[in-house]
Symmetry: C2
Subunit: 312 residues, 2 copies
């Protein structure tokens, strides 16, 4: 117990990354969520304030809140539930955007409490608590957003059930353009449009692309990354959920992006690029393609965030 | 033209490697095929001798023979079809074994002629000719056997149509045990038992394992390799084609193998192990499990062959 007050940030993330449905994600430098925790005399964890949620309300009850839930599970694990802790959650990113908003809250919540308690656990050890926290919002036990939000970088998950999570090398010139169009897609709906079957041929193609993308990250082979970023299974089924998606994506490619696809369950669209300048051009081009169909949007251009959750 | 006679060897290979159906393969040090080529006065390529085929006969007509076909396509590419070349093919490995026999012949054929002509092309440039040669035997345009037989090492193919082929790092302590049981499986039959559909859940699981296996190779993480070598799509469908397969596989695992599955289309079964001693124990255990059902077999224990086709 070495701190009276701790303020942390956990970043937004892009899950799936075209060819790694449920098993691949990366973090960006912004936006993200901030969580503040402080000791207090009254035993138990209380959420005292949630800001930045706009019209939507998030539960103040800790057991029902992703940040609170993940923190509570950590406190139970540490047999520290009787500690008095107040938590503030400052949402500084859109939710329902496909950028891992609930994952960022869960990562920030558990990371903040771990810092407050003097880092009894490592970041990797915090992962199960954060994944459990996101699960109460998302329904699925998946680390493809929580992993990169907590750990940073590009995260690969062999198996979500056992959280067999690995951090991949991040090519130095890799930048992301992420555009969030102001339309709503529910994760549940995005899951429901997916067929439970796929063809063996598509599975082989996807596996080839996923493997090659990993090789591209290890070998700094940007042209291999370019050839690998083609999703033949998920994107074709979800594309219609996002207005003008194909034109948005193709605009990014014409602007020089290595690849472009849906961020998580959407509606955000990301592009991976070889330089910040190209990422900026891709972001502009994607925004223009949304504007063309009267959809307003917000753009984020960022290097791959290799820090994950950090103390502010 | 710097040689009157060239003798080459191309090794046997293990394709699929549990989780990389059609896109992953590795070479072993033996067995393999030898091809001898020499200049002669009569224009054109002629196959003068094929040995080691046992009861089976392979076509002497160059256009119908995998080694001859691949060599002819190279000669056409080099506009050298009028050269007089005699070729001998010495099969020193079983065919129909799932060890890439036709791929080894194709690789050896094209490699030998390229050597005879003074190496006008690199090994990678020879790949399309060798794949075309194997195709006349196997029917499919696949580099998962030809790639490692020609290039050596562990070969990953993002896309077979464009031969987007990559060599992976080979962990130094990785050894293979390969057991060829004396039963026949036709590649055609092995393909026909496969459903053209798979579930999305299985595809995700397979992709997670394939990606993690690649990470294991890059990171020398033998325990990750162990966790990754589980085929949830192909092996369950093909297992029944191989007598006592599950017991053979489990024998290898009990002997300490990192993983075990069907080599290519079978009937050979391979195990990857962390040391030569473990690979030897796994090979013995697998042979014993075949013997238990009155199936005789031949075992090969080898480091991963990183040379591929070589001049003898």
């Amino acid at each position: 117990m070495n701190n009276a007050l701790v303020r942390v940030f956990a970043p937004a993330t892009v899950a799936n990354v075209a060819v790694g449905f449920d098993i691949l994600g990366f973090a960006i430098n912004g936006p993200g969520d901030e969580v503040v925790v402080r000791r207090c005399a009254t035993p138990g964890l209380r959420i005292t304030q949630i800001t930045g949620t706009g019209l939507k309300q998030l539960p103040l009850e800790a057991e029902k809140n992703t940040a609170g839930f993940s923190a509570l599970r950590l406190l139970e694990h540490l047999k520290a539930t009787s500690l008095g802790i107040e938590m503030e959650i400052h949402k500084k990113m859109p939710f329902g955007s496909g950028l891992g908003s609930s994952a960022a809250s869960a990562a920030a919540g558990v990371f903040a409490v771990n810092e407050l308690l003097g880092q009894p656990l490592s970041k990797v050890e915090l992962l199960p608590f954060a994944v459990a926290g996101e699960q109460i919002a998302d329904g699925a036990y998946h680390a493809d957003n929580v992993g990169p939000s907590l750990l940073g970088g590009i995260t690969f998950i062999r198996d979500n059930a056992t959280l067999d999570v690995h951090q991949l090398p991040v090519p130095a010139e890799l930048f992301a353009a992420v555009v969030y169009p102001f339309v709503e897609i529910l994760t549940k709906d995005a899951r429901e449009v997916l067929s439970k079957q796929t063809s063996l041929a598509q599975c082989i193609q996807q596996t080839g692309n996923l493997g090659a993308l990993l090789i591209g990250f290890y070998e700094n082979d940007y042209e291999l990354i370019r050839r690998s970023l083609t999703d033949v299974i998920i994107e074709p089924q979800r594309a219609r959920l996002i207005p003008n998606f194909l034109e948005v994506k193709n605009s990014a490619l014409r602007a020089g992006a290595l690849g472009s696809s849906i961020s998580g369950a959407g509606p955000s669209v990301f592009a991976l690029c070889r330089s910040r300048a190209t990422a900026q051009q891709a972001a502009q081009a994607m925004q223009a393609a949304f504007t063309a169909v009267d959809i307003q949007s917000e753009a984020f251009v960022s290097a791959i965030n290799t820090d994950g959750a950090v103390r502010l």
